[in-house]
Structure formats: C-alpha cells, structure tokens
Assembly symmetry: C2
Homo-oligomer: 506 residues x 2
Amino acid sequence: MTYTKKLKAKIIDIEANKPIFLLNEKVAEDILASTNNRVVVRSAKECVTGLVDITNTVIDDYSIGIYKNQQSKLNINDGDLVEVNVMPYPESLQYIINKIKNKPLSEEEAYTIIKDVLDDKLSEAEISAFLTSLTINGLSLEETTYLCKALTNTGKTISFDRPEILDKHSIGGINGRVSMLVVPIIVANGYMMPKTASRSISSAAGTADCMEVLARVDLGADKIKEIVSDVGGVITWNGRLDLSPGDDKMIAIRHSLGLDPEGLVIASVLSKKKSAGSTHLIIDLPVGKEVKIKTREEAEKWAKKFLVISKELGIKTRVVLTNGEVPCGRNFGAALEAKSAFEILEGKYFDNLAAKACEIAGKLFDLVGKTKDGEGYDLARETIKSGKALEKFKEIIKAQEGNIFCSEDVPIAENKKIIINQSIGKIVDMDVALLTKIARLAGAPYDKGAGLVLLCDSGDELKEGDPILEIYANNLDKLDQAEEFAKENLKNIIQIERMILEEMDQ
Amino acid sequence: MTYTKKLKAKIIDIEANKPIFLLNEKVAEDILASTNNRVVVRSAKECVTGLVDITNTVIDDYSIGIYKNQQSKLNINDGDLVEVNVMPYPESLQYIINKIKNKPLSEEEAYTIIKDVLDDKLSEAEISAFLTSLTINGLSLEETTYLCKALTNTGKTISFDRPEILDKHSIGGINGRVSMLVVPIIVANGYMMPKTASRSISSAAGTADCMEVLARVDLGADKIKEIVSDVGGVITWNGRLDLSPGDDKMIAIRHSLGLDPEGLVIASVLSKKKSAGSTHLIIDLPVGKEVKIKTREEAEKWAKKFLVISKELGIKTRVVLTNGEVPCGRNFGAALEAKSAFEILEGKYFDNLAAKACEIAGKLFDLVGKTKDGEGYDLARETIKSGKALEKFKEIIKAQEGNIFCSEDVPIAENKKIIINQSIGKIVDMDVALLTKIARLAGAPYDKGAGLVLLCDSGDELKEGDPILEIYANNLDKLDQAEEFAKENLKNIIQIERMILEEMDQ
C-alpha cells in the first residue's frame, strides 16, 4: 500500500561500494514524502533496496541514477523502466532504538539486525548507533551468544571429516607471526589445523599479509578443504570466505572509533571459528598498556566470556593471557615477519616469538589430549628442533601454490636506513605502538617488503653510535618519512634507564 | 610529514551531497596505507577534505574522481593536477571516544566537534556515534551550554536595533499553526517578532510549509531585517539562514533513530533563537502519550534546563507545558492549516487552536511587561477581535511578497474523499499520530494542498453515517491510499466510548 513510481534507469558508470540510488529533488519528494531515505527498486525480475542521494544534475524528473553494481543486481540496461517506492523503516531500527534505551536484545532481534545489516537495509549511521549502544550499554552473556549465533547463521560454513579441528586466535595487534609457527608444529603431529586469518587493520602486518609473501591466500572454501585433507593444514585469508559477512561489514565502521566492546569482539571471533569448523581452540589475550586489553583483571573478564560462549557453541576452548608489553620477535612488516618465521623453523635462533609459539602449540596439544597437561611445550619445541615443522611448513606453502621455501629467498624491500643510538645506558622499555607506526610510515602493510628490524633488546647496554633499528621500504619518500619520525621519537621508542624521574623548578 | 601523491582530476558530472572522492584500489592503498579513509585534496588555490570511495571502474592509477560540488570548491577543471594525501584522524574523534566512555565534554571539545562536523572531517557513522553517546550518557547542564554556544558561534547571526525581540518555540509535532496567529497578535501591539521556523520533519506540515502557501519563506538575513524594521514581524523558513548549520547537519542523522536527547534538542533550539537575536522567549512543551514528551515530570526536567541555559545566553524565557493529547484545531496539512489561521483571524470561529495562540501570545505580553502577569491573554484575544491581528497578518504576507489575503483564496487540493462513521457513541479520544499519517499518505507535506479536516470533536455523539473526516489530495493514487488507511484504522483514529473494557474466555 505504498505509492509507486515508474522511472527510467540511467546507468552511472561507477562501481559504487554502497547501495545508493540517485534521484532528483522533485522525484525524491514525490516518492519519499518524508525524510525516510530508503527506496525499493524493482526490475522485471529482481528487487533491490538502498539509500537515496539527491542530485539536481544529470537526473531528470523521469529518471533514477543506478550505479553499475546495482545495475547488475537488477539485471537491467540503461533506459529500462523500474518501479520505485519508499521502503518503510526496517523492523531492526526499533530494536536498535530499544538497545540505545538499554533494553536487552532477544535472540530474534539480534538475528534481524544482522540480517538487515547484510541486506543493506540499515545505513552506516544506523549501524554505528547500534555499535555505540553495544559499547556503552554492554552485552550480557546471552546477548553475546545471540549475536554470535546470528553472525554464524548468516554466513557460510566449512566442515571437515575429522572429529578434531584445532585452531588458535590472538586479540590485539602485536608483531610476530605465532600462527605461522603453530600451524606447522600442530599439523606435523597429525592434527588438522585450517587457519583462516585476517589482514592487518592497525598493525604492521596480519598473518594473511605475511603468508601472502610466500604463497596464495585468496583460497575459497573448496580449495581449503582440498589442501587440508591433503597436507593437514592451511594458513589463508578469511576475507573471501564469507564466514561472518555481517561482522566484516561492521568492522569497517568500528575501526576509526575503536568501538570494540568485549561482547562484540568475542561474538566476532567465535562466529568465524564456529563457521570454520573449529573444535579445539586456544585464545591468546595479550595484556599490556599499548594493546587492546590493559590489565589482568580486564583480561580475566574477557576470558570468562570466551569460555562460556565457546562452550555454548560446542568448541573446547582454553584462554591464555600473554605478555603484551614487549615486541614479539624483532621484525615488523609482512616479509620481515615471514622471514623470521622461516628462520625460527630453520633453527637459526630461538627468541621470545619462538617461545610463544611453542607455548601456544603446547597448550593445544594438552587441550586435545595429545600430551598430559603441561607437557605439550616440549613436544612443540622438539617438533621444531627435529626439522619436522619446517618440512610441514614447506608442504603447506607448496599446497598453497607458493614457491619460497627458505628464509634467504623472502623478498625484502630494496632500500634501507639504519637508525643510530644517541645516548648511553640500559634499555628498559620499547614502545610497540611507535615501532608499528614507523613500519607503517615506511609503507606496511601494503608494501609487503617494508618494515623494520630491531637490532637491540630490553636489557642491552647501549653505547652512543650503536645501530638500533633498520628500516626497509620500496618507496624512497616513505623511507625518508619513517626515518624522520624514528629520529624525532627515538627517546620514546627505545627507553634508556634514568635515575631522575621528574624535576621541579622553584 | 605525510606521503603526497599528484593525481589528475576526473570530474564526475554529479552534484553529490557529501564530500566524497573516488580513488581506485591501488591508489587508495598507496596513499592511505591504512583503513583511514579521509584525504586532503589540494588544488593551486584551495584545499578540501573528504572521505574516499573505492571504485575499480572509470578511475585509473593516475586519477582521482571529483564530484561537481567539490570541483567548484577546488576551483579546477577536468585534467588538472591535484595533490592528495591522507588526512590524519581529526582531534574531535578522540573527544567522541571520550564521551562514549562517559567523560564529560569540555567547552573547547564541544566546539571542536561541531567545527569538524561542519568541515566534513567526521563521517556520518562518527557523527551518529557522537549523537548516540549523548543520548545514552546524557548531557550535563554545562555540556548542554557548551554545545549550544558552539552551535551558535559556528553559525551566522541576525541582529535588530531594538532592545526587545520576542519569539516562541514549540517542541513536538502537533498540528495547528500557533505561530501564524501569535506573530500578528504580538506585532500588532508594537513589538518586533522575527519568527524563523522549520519545515515539517514528521508532522503533516511545519510553520514554514504553511506560510509558504501564502508568501515567500526563502528569505535571507538582510531581507528579514528589512521586513521586520518595516512591518515589525516576519514568518519565514530558517533553512537558508545558517543560524546553526552544525545543528542542521546533525538533525538529518538523528531523525531515523529518534536520537533526541534533551540536551541536544535544547542546545539546538536555543542556539537558533540566540542567533536570530531573541531576547524574550516562550517555550511550548506539549505533553501527551503520542508526542515527544510523555509525562509532566519529564516536561519539568526539560523546562528546568531550558530556563537555566537560556538565562546563561541572556534570553528571558518562560516555559509553558501544554495539552498534547488532542488535535490543535481541526486541520492537518500546509494549505488547510494556513486556511484555519486565516479563519480564526477573520473571526469565523474560536477553537482550541485560537485559545492556545492567545494563551501563548498573552504569556509573551506578560513576560515583556506589556501586561501584568495573567492579563496578556485578554489583550491577545482583543487583538484578534478588533481585526488588528488580521490587518497585521496581511501586511506581513504582503511584505513577504505574498498575494493571498483571505481564507477563501487559500488553494486546497482538487480531490476530496469523505470518511463516514460506522459506529454509534460518544467520541472519547482521537489519535493525532494516525491523523498525521493519513495527511502524509495523502501527500503532505510536499503536496501543500493535501491533508485532512476533522468534521467532529471529542465529546460529540456520533451516529452511523455521520461524515467524520475529509481527506484532500492532488494525486489520486495517494488519495486512495489515504482513504484506505483511514477506513482500516477508523476505530483507533476516532475512539468511541465503550463500557466493556476487556473480555476473557473460559
């Protein structure tokens, strides 16, 4: 019972990434008769909803501007007639309003909101209001579970023919690619571990960025199943898998405001794990003043929720709190971090990154019953030492169509600058956030060869003139900027022990 | 110290209403090197900030797509080179994050946020998060004052050569154009009253819509000053005056979610009044179950804030709580409501709309000291009775270049349907929200002739077959839809007294 208007489609030769239709002011007033800015557009076969932008150029009183991606959804040509009418406010809008008023979400309401996010029935401003209300009013355990199920049920799933599918996940933006070590260690011992990982959002590189230096990571679900049944494991990007597409859409809006309420992050992580078929899972929560979780008390709250909800989903889970105060390994940047994973597997050194990987792989062995509680670490370490983990890593790279099989072959950026120390004393702290910033200024994560290598460690006694950082970049302008920033902020990046803590005048 | 890229401007022949630039994926990665989606674009003379949309059609690796309105801001032609670099997150983003964490806004922070809203440095999603945080965490009196001052100081002002500038404002979407009666009553008694009003958002018509039926309402500040110094008053649209442009921008985002926290509405109203030069102000707060403010307790909280903040701004203010449970006058829709204003001034009848106008004009007389407290009503009523208010109304219309000077000449829509009563009994209630919906289905507020006239009143004894509503519309499809909706919902629109309140089986 709404007013319908026939309009001529005018195709706009742009691939707009949002579902927007262009109307001129007069037609918009006639159809919408309100500030409700959503329309339903119907072609002979298809029906698409979207938001309206008003333009008084190019679109006349008898036309509607349709971007190329909506054109293909509607299956029409330029000049075809479409029927347009106002779309009533979606039901989910009322549920968002209720949550703003601190009324708890029901299971059905959580599902409807996620469904409408996916169907482009909610605007970015409305989704943002929802995410803000979750951040301020919080989510109960029930609401987190509902949201997690909604995200899972609106996405695709992958299933494997095996009772035990092992996995790990880390919250919070530290360097060092633990997963690239854990997967070969686990798989070399006969378990399946299909690791689907993200790209970097705010760090110097994500696991998917690093693995992409060595092999293909744009694998579909079928290819993943094939590789895993063949070699036991995979390390790939989750972005093409649509395991939790509602979550993917919300992450883009959450980022600039840091809208990361516990419940939402937990629902996001566990929905992707459930969809990927995980049965045994280690959650790594780094704790430190520069990472997402600042204190142990906070981390314990997160842990409890992870445990309850993963149990609800049927995933056997253990949470570990880890040291998020120090750099994990010495490299920042996709190629440099991939290189250090190789070097550890090749037995070149055993640093805190290697130790963390063995601890986490060990906990997975304990959890799945391969080892007695506490004995997994030794098995993990032995798997590296024997070279079995390196062999498995090469098998996985080959299965993912890669052709880099040793640390020397990892391609690092052409240009390098070395930062020299200017003061004397013992290193007491290093700022991971500032180190990440240098790597990003140098071009990470898009320039995969860009990043930095730490040439010193906490506890080292520095002399003036000691080299302390190497910065790598392919773009010379970016290299200069990263160098300039590093020099300006040196005292905060590498902190030297000082006895006078504060001084006051008069 | 950010990475800058030179790109060729490709002008897109669309007047986009948001500051968006088009980049292809590769260039976006190179410039942004993060999910930060803001850029600064510099031409030889100008500099504009905006958000990025990614498109892989039409824009190549050496170009940037620029919509027509940004083209004119940058003062460039197709093919010109522009410099593009990433815009750092605006400072205001941190203040929004703080407010989400319930940290109070300082005066400077409130100002920076409003400034960045105006300069397009914040996305709609970020503005929405800010508005949601104000809704959930609330605003203290101080924060409301800061926001009000920020909205005022970022807008234009109008000033008059007179110590007393009278004004009124009503919160909350009831029909009946009180202002069209109050202005001529006040002005006929020698005071200045420049009434700047809004168009309808959710009601059947706003004061600006109604006045536009009779005269021009798209007046600029200079024209308003000229008319007011000439005839003493004006009734015009506030939309072209930029009295509080930050507010205008936020209102569009607030609407669908009903993000109307007290503090924000109060800051919005008072900033516009301050900018328009008001010195004496009556605030009308309708209270009722279908309007914004539901209870007297709630209204008293609103009132207290209005009083404190208007005092801070130097506006002498009185707040009145009014009956928002019943229709105010019998007409809904721009032309029909304008017509009833005329009919009251012409002395054809004196209904509850006329009474409300005399009460409010009377309170203004009391407030400014023209009458002793409580005696203003009689003066207002006398000003109508004597015909002086009608004469002044015609003068104002003439000054605003109108040419309709009596109720018979107001143009109503061509087509009419009458709704007939179906049941017997006394009318105990009428639903203003449903009546508004019928008027809007008929085409209000964009079809100025559309709307409805109530043919009955609370307390009337109805017989079957009595006509109870007339619906008017220019568009026959819309008329049919409004009629259908009215017939289907008749029992809820006009409620008849019933003795059985509820019944239960077995």
